[in-house]
């Protein structure tokens, strides 16, 4: 799968019509993934083995590294999202990117390959490799095709993620040697490492390495200073990928690696982590409200929403995990929608400053309508996907700590303010600078926004499709976690499991 993707990529480099090739490649990938979903989704629900696909080749035997890819429900959902947003980002840049097409699409495809690799890798080194592959093409996309200040943004982004990535590398190595010294077998294989977990302060420090990488990429509260620049200065395809997908790789990493590998250490930092998450929700919302630049506003709103992920992951129960899963998908879709709208506006007006905009509804009622959908999604209107995810997350957090859950819930209220401000500033208030006469959507734009809207409403009404797919994978993880901990937990995992099953049935 991932390998096939890579083959596609190299072919697309020097072609004269890279757009079509990129688009077709991504559609093909998307179809493959949806096919797997349709065929296997139902079966794997009940099966004990939650892994849908499993590929394992020897890579660097001297270090015990394998080319090990595996797919479970979580990966499946994330892959579908990856390719879906990939298709959209190619479509969005159809008109706005005119220079060096081949190289642009080459970068985009590599980027997506790295991201899908991250969702599939089951070898820690391979995971790290894919994690880092994302960086270089993202940097190029940002610097070459970005807005005026993109060099600085690219630089900052690269450095932040690089140093945190290296911290993770150190932790991976630490894990490797820990396992090796305990069992005599030096390996980077995720499952083998899972069978022999470190404890005490070793676990804590190793976890910190992983956290460094994931919290920076997410980004979490103190590490977010690269975010507004990176999100706002990228071309839109870049913004979509970085906000819609890359930040999800961090969330995925938290669920896949931090929680199962370091269960006790993760428990020990749960309260501060949730607190950070809750504060990020509020602080992000506040910053978002203060922005004039549309893209920066969206960037901070994304930062705010990522707080929910942190809250959910560290609440340690099924409900919250499901919420996180939903949040990854829903936020991916809604943030992509908002960035795409900002791109369409930028294409038409050449500015992102909201003070110069106004009264767009008159000319572009269609765009206004779509914007309304995504703004509502982002503020968590029931019936749209984000509501489901935020509700699940908060319900999960409630079980863990009531006070913090309340704090996080306040974020929902604040998000209303900045979301509505987008709508009000751009579409309704009377134009302050000049009267704009702008064309409404064309067919391509209809296609992009229409498909996103359908997806977001569908997930809002029938979240079961995502929850069910990821369920088996979570069950499996909970099992592993419980096996690895001999002493009884303070949370009644079983009760919650039953409860969630009832809820989702």
């Amino acid at each position: 799968m991932g390998g096939g993707l890579l083959a596609w990529l190299s072919a697309s480099f020097s072609q004269s019509a890279p757009r079509w090739i990129a688009l077709l490649a991504l559609i093909a990938d998307f179809l493959i993934v949806s096919n797997i979903w349709v065929n296997q989704g139902g079966v794997s629900l009940s099966a004990q083995n939650a892994w849908i696909e499993d590929v394992n080749y020897s890579w660097i035997p001297q270090f015990g590294m394998n080319f090990h890819l595996a797919m479970d429900g979580i990966s499946l959902v994330m892959l579908s999202l990856t390719f879906f947003l990939g298709i959209l980002s190619v479509l969005v840049s159809w008109k706005s990117i005119q220079k060096n097409l081949g190289f642009f699409h080459f970068n985009i495809l590599w980027l997506l390959a790295g991201i899908s690799g991250v969702f599939l890798a089951m070898d820690m080194m391979l995971f790290y490799f894919f994690w880092e592959i994302m960086l270089v093409p993202m940097y190029f996309v940002m610097v070459i095709w970005g807005h005026e200040n993109s060099k600085y943004a690219g630089w900052k982004f690269f450095l932040f993620t690089q140093i945190s990535g290296l911290m993770m590398l150190l932790s991976i190595l630490g894990l490797y040697y820990y396992h090796g010294s305990q069992t005599g077998e030096y390996t980077f294989d995720y499952f083998k490492l899972l069978s022999n977990l470190p404890n005490g302060s070793t676990a804590f420090w190793l976890m910190c390495g992983f956290l460094a990488a994931f919290l920076v990429k997410l980004p979490a509260l103190p590490f977010h200073s690269w975010l507004p620049d990176a999100y706002a200065e990228s071309p839109s395809a870049g913004s979509i990928i970085i906000a819609g997908l890359m930040s999800k790789t961090a969330a995925y990493g938290l669920i896949r690696f931090v929680v199962p590998l370091f269960p006790e250490a993760a428990q020990s930092i749960a309260i501060p982590a949730i607190l950070i998450g809750a504060l990020a929700i509020l602080y992000g919302a506040k910053l978002s409200y203060a922005q004039r630049n549309l893209k920066r506003l969206i960037a901070f709103s994304s930062f705010s929403h990522m707080g929910f992920i942190l809250v959910g992951v560290f609440s340690f129960n099924m409900l919250a995990f499901q919420g996180v899963m939903m949040q990854m998908v829903a936020h991916g879709l809604s943030i992509a929608g908002l960035f795409i709208i900002s791109e369409f506006i930028f294409e038409r007006t050449g500015t992102l400053d909201m003070n110069e905009m106004g009264g767009f509804w008159k000319n572009m009622p269609n765009m206004g309508g779509f914007t309304l959908v995504f703004v509502m999604a982002s503020l968590g209107l029931p019936g749209l996907a984000n509501f489901v995810s935020e509700f699940l997350t908060l319900a999960g957090a409630w079980q863990y700590d009531v006070l913090l859950a309340v704090l996080a819930t306040l974020g929902l209220i604040v998000s209303v303010t900045y979301s509505l401000r987008i709508l009000q500033k751009i579409f309704h208030q009377s134009p302050s600078v000049k009267e704009w006469t702008l064309p409404d959507f064309n067919a391509r734009e209809w296609l992009v926004m229409g498909s996103l809207t359908v997806a977001i409403i569908w997930l809002g009404l029938f979240p079961q499709s995502v929850i069910g797919t990821a369920q088996s994978a979570f069950d499996k993880m909970e099992l592993i976690q419980m096996e690895s901990q001999d002493q009884p937990q303070e949370i009644g995992m079983n009760e919650i499991l039953i409860e969630t099953n009832e809820l989702s049935n």
Binding site: F129, E132, W155, F158, L159, L169, Y176
Partner: protein, 472 residues
């Protein structure tokens, strides 16, 4: 006594010595630049071939030298690098208005010195090979004698190298005084665990100063940027790779055999040198506008990283250092090769970073290659540099030297700044056209660039073959 087997083992060195003489005689018969170039290439090729065919074994060869896999691997690396440097030199010196045939003699001799140093097992053989190497390098640095800056650099190197050699000799004599031996093989047995007399410690300390200079570890690094920027690009390449690598190997042999790293004081001294090199190298690199000086600081920091493998004080440490040296050689050769490649008769060397503005748009392939090289130096995955760093980290981790590892990680991120700066300059659009450069007409040089490109990627993605070569 020298046996026939020993002669077999020494054939590569003999070939090089004879090759130097042949080139000299050829010049006496007829001054022809291309001829001496061809002879030099043939010499390195023959030496490399014989080296590869020689059996890999571990045994002393006379009292002075030692045959072992590490020595063989590094000799091979050095000869191969010398071969590549020769190819870079040919078009570079062809456009210079100098008497240039003798350049190749010096190059062969310097390489000979370096190779001998990697297989030395005795103070005497080390000092002799060091002198062969250094004296040739003085002349190489100042080879373009019409350039004042070149001469200045040469004299600077001469004086500092002489002082460093003095330190090493004095250190050696103190070691000899306290142990009564000059052979590394015997030094292994001499000091009992952990018991180092003050005299021996002083001796080792003085040698550390000398080696610190040879390898340009901070605070003995001041000569590097001046000499790199003033010397002709191929010579800078030589100084950055071969002469540093060879000195490192002997340092490794000396301190591993005498067990010096068991002593806490010595270990701490080296750790401080290593950490200082990483940080100072990367820190000073930030401000550079001159690409050659930038690479000089980059090489200072790389030697600092290399010390992590050295300080792991294990077999894994040796192997990771060897692997890292290979990755470092390939990347630095490629980086300086790039400067040489774009040298033009009209404008000289493109040593300023500004000269590369817009390269990405006028010469996409070259720029892609250079980007890869810079990323390799920065240690981004899928390049040789990353695998090398990974292996160093892994050997350091197994030895439990967390402080070193953290400083490696942090300082290499600082380093990223300036590598990215060069990449960004290449990405910026400009009207500058890169039209006349020597690489355009040299098919061999283009081939070498392509080979280095493949090697850097290959080592980054499938290092298995290289790892088995260094004995894993």
């Amino acid at each position: 006594m020298v046996t026939l087997q020993d002669i077999h083992f020494l054939m590569p060195e003999i070939v090089m010595a004879v090759g130097a003489v042949i080139v000299m005689l050829a010049i006496a018969v007829k001054r022809d630049y291309t001829l001496s170039y061809g002879l030099t290439l043939a010499t390195f090729l023959a030496a490399f071939g014989i080296l590869v065919l020689n059996p890999t074994e571990t045994r002393p060869v006379t009292e002075l030298l030692l045959a072992d896999p590490l020595g063989k691997f590094l000799s091979g690396l050095i000869i191969a690098s010398a071969f590549i440097i020769t190819i870079f030199s040919y078009p570079y010196f062809r456009i210079q208005k100098e008497v240039k045939e003798e350049y190749f003699i010096l190059l062969i001799l310097a390489t000979l010195g370096a190779v001998l140093m990697t297989i030395s097992n005795h103070f005497i053989s080390f000092v002799i090979s060091l002198e062969i190497l250094s004296v040739s390098v003085f002349a190489l640095i100042g080879y373009l004698k019409k350039l004042e800056i070149s001469i200045e650099a040469s004299i600077k190197y001469l004086i500092l190298a002489a002082v460093a050699t003095g330190f090493i000799l004095f250190g050696f004599s103190l070691i000899y005084l306290s142990t009564g031996s000059m052979s590394l093989a015997q030094l292994t047995q001499t000091p009992a665990e952990g018991s180092f007399s003050l005299l021996l410690l002083t001796g080792l300390g003085l040698t550390i100063v000398g080696f610190g200079f040879k390898m340009a570890l901070v605070p003995f690094h001041f000569w590097t940027p001046d000499i790199y920027s003033a010397a002709p690009a191929p010579v800078s390449t030589f100084v950055a790779t071969i002469s540093k690598g060879a000195a490192f190997v002997f340092l490794l042999r000396l301190f591993y055999s005498i067990g010096g790293l068991n002593n806490d004081n010595i270990w701490v001294v080296f750790a401080v040198l290593a950490i200082a090199s990483m940080f100072v190298g990367n820190w000073l690199g930030l401000q550079q506008k001159n690409l050659k000086r930038l690479l000089a600081y980059s090489s200072i920091s790389h030697l600092g990283y290399l010390m992590v493998g050295f300080l792991a004080f294990s077999d894994d440490g040796i192997r990771s250092s060897a692997f890292y040296l290979t990755a470092y050689f390939a990347s630095i050769l490629a980086a300086f090769g790039m400067i040489t490649y774009l040298t033009s008769e009209h404008d000289g060397e493109p040593y300023m970073i500004e000269n590369y503005r817009g390269l990405f748009w006028s010469k996409p392939w070259l720029a892609a290659f250079f980007t890869l090289v810079l990323l390799s130096l920065a240690g981004i995955p899928f390049t040789a540099g990353f695998m090398g760093k990974f292996y160093l980290l892994s050997s350091g981790m197994s030895a439990g030297k967390i402080v070193l590892l953290l400083s490696l990680v942090v300082s290499s991120t600082i380093g990223l700044f300036y590598y990215l700066k060069v990449v960004q300059v290449m990405l910026t659009r400009s009207e500058t056209q890169h039209e006349f450069y020597i690489g355009k007409h040299s098919i061999l040089m283009q081939a070498v660039v392509a080979v280095l490109f493949v090697v850097i990627l290959w080592m980054g993605v499938f290092p298995s073959a290289f790892l088995s070569m260094i004995g894993m």
